[in-house]
Amino acid sequence: MKEKQQNIRLYVPIYLIVVCIYIIAGVIEPIFFTWNNNVNLFTRVTPLIFAGLAQTFVILTGGIDLSIGAVIGITNVIAASLPSPDTPLNLILWLFVPLLAGLTIGLINGLIISKGGFPPLIVTLATGAIWLGATLCIMPIPGGSISLSVSRAVTGKLFKVVPSPLLIFVVAIVICHFVLRRTEFGRSIYALGGNETIAYESGIPCSKVKIWVYGTSGLLGAFSGMFLSAWMFSADPLIGQPYVLNSIAVAVISGTSLSGGRGGVVGIIGGAYIFYLINNILNLLAISSFYQFVAKGLILILALIFTSSGVNLNIKELLRGYFFEKERILEKVGNNEQKD
């Protein structure tokens, strides 16, 4: 019960902010509420949602993955440079080869980090540079092609009603949520992020969990790269670079603590939406794209102030404290201090 309350406190602010922005945008520009614009938004946020999911898994263990951009880039390039497009062979290869590549890269990261005991930030920075180099070796300039049917299936509409991107990211988030909350692997991720020593002493195989967490991150990054290849219908070796920092921002805005052990994937949609809503609104209002950076920065800072661990957004207690039972609250604080 307590865990649920905590979760609500984590996810509610982010969705409140998103809904506010959404409504304001719709009032200013009615086109915003049209179905086409929303389908467009679903497609745009999907790669960022996958990148955010990948980053969340790693951040929950107290680590960070800066190689996510390189993973997205290399899987994107691999997906678009497979032989003989528009044949069943290509389809099968498209489904398996990039995922395998992403998983392998992630597992290598995990091995170096857990077996060597090095800080994840600098390890993934270095491996990211190495894989980016490899990507540029495979495909120095944007190009390549993929099957038309794949592209249509991934970015089109299922039964001409449900947009496939919406379906894809909702399913992905549900699966990730299930893995994190209801499986042994997921629970050990939280335990590991909370306190590694205690987790180790309670019999959790820490290094194994860490290796597979980075593996999962690589796998989810590969999904992002594959989706981008299907959406763009070609590949770009540098396409993943903006996702490095954006994925971290998305994970943090959606309520995951960078010190590990707290958070989850339910807020990811809100976190990813904030990024693209701003761009979308300013585009629809025909405002210069220069202001997008300022707006993005300001909204990020605001969202961080609301969701950061330092500021407890307990509105009920605040109101009580100010208007009704100030003394009782003070008394409570006093009691707590005595307990400590």
Partner: protein, 327 residues
């Protein structure tokens, strides 16, 4: 008796600074390696050219080192370099008379933005990684709005002299500036009360707070210094390239972090210093230079950089046998 003690002291000094000796050894090895690959690598002019390139990275890394020592990280240095570069050209507009005021104003602006990130990190308890990312985005936007996407203006002759000129036609001015700033930074970090506070906060923030250090204020100052040095780098770059360029600082975010980490400063804070960072900077630039001499493509250069970082950190952490978790 006296001699014995001094021997022990020397041994202590060597064992404490093993990493630093290793790094400077690596610098010398890389220089010799370059000479073997192509004759003339060790020419005075070429060494000056390498140090000149390294000095830009070195000056950004002053701020980055201090921030990382407090246990934080500064991702806004890239946008700040661009801001300094663009704004100083805009204000100076090729006139010598504007130079001093323009530089002072721009550095103040950088310190102000640094203060903003520092305030968020220290007082609002926002994670430094995302706070500086957000401030970086804000700064990029402001730069774009004021320059209207097409930076105007030129560096003045004085700034140009600072960027490319040499003292007595012998010693490049920019290396001289880097030298002065390095000495100041080392004095601040190792020999002043204020500088030692950065180490204490990085090692254990709670303990530092209970020992009476104003942790929040000190942390904010660290970010302000980082903002000022980043903007100064942008100003010096304007002297070097004569004009402003909007993407000039992008690469420096990760480069500066890499230089600091190669230099042996722990990302968890509290350990390291600027002496190592100088070596880290030179190694980073030397490596680029050697790979360029060998006619390697961009892709291979990136891979080589990554590999070197991995090898170096594996050496550090095997030596210390410390398990470091965060980041």
């Amino acid at each position: 008796m006296n001699k014995k003690i001094s021997n022990i002291e020397i041994n202590n000094f060597v064992s404490q600074n093993k990493v630093t000796f290793l790094l400077y050894g690596l610098v010398i090895i890389l220089f010799i390696f370059g000479e073997i690959i192509s004759k003339g690598f060790l020419n005075y002019d070429h060494i000056c050219a390498i140090l000149r390139t390294a000095s830009f990275l070195g000056i950004v890394s002053i701020g980055q080192t201090i921030v990382i020592l407090t246990g934080g990280i500064d991702l806004s240095v890239g946008p700040l370099i661009t801001t300094g570069n663009v704004f100083v050209c805009m204000f100076i507009n090729g006139q010598d008379s504007n130079t001093l005021w323009a530089i002072l104003f721009v550095i103040l602006l950088g310190a102000l933005f640094g203060f903003l990130s520092g305030y968020g990190v220290a007082y609002l308890k926002i994670s430094p990684l995302v706070m500086t990312l957000a401030v970086g985005s804000l700064i990029t936007g402001i730069t774009l709005i004021f320059s209207k996407g097409a930076p105007k203006g030129l560096a003045s002759p004085i700034l140009r002299y600072i960027g490319v000129g040499s003292l007595f036609d012998f010693f490049p001015v920019i290396i001289f500036i880097w030298l002065i700033l390095s000495v100041l930074c080392i004095l601040l970090l190792n020999f002043s009360v204020f500088g030692r506070k950065f180490f204490y906060i990085g090692a254990n923030e709670k303990a530092a707070f209970f020992s009476g250090i104003k942790t929040n204020f000190t942390k904010t100052m660290a970010y302000s210094i980082s903002g000022a040095t980043a903007v100064l780098t942008g100003v010096l770059m304007a002297g070097y390239t004569h004009t402003a360029f909007l993407g000039i600082g992008n690469e420096y975010v990760l480069w500066s972090i890499a230089a600091v980490v190669i230099g042996g400063t722990a990302l968890t804070g509290g350990k390291g210093g600027y002496v190592g960072t100088i070596a880290g900077t030179i190694i980073f630039v030397l490596l680029e230079s050697i790979l360029t001499v060998m006619n390697m493509p961009e892709a291979v250069r990136k891979m080589a950089n990554g590999t070197i970082i991995l090898i170096l950190i594996s050496i550090y952490y095997n030596q210390e046998k410390a398990k470091v978790k965060i980041y």
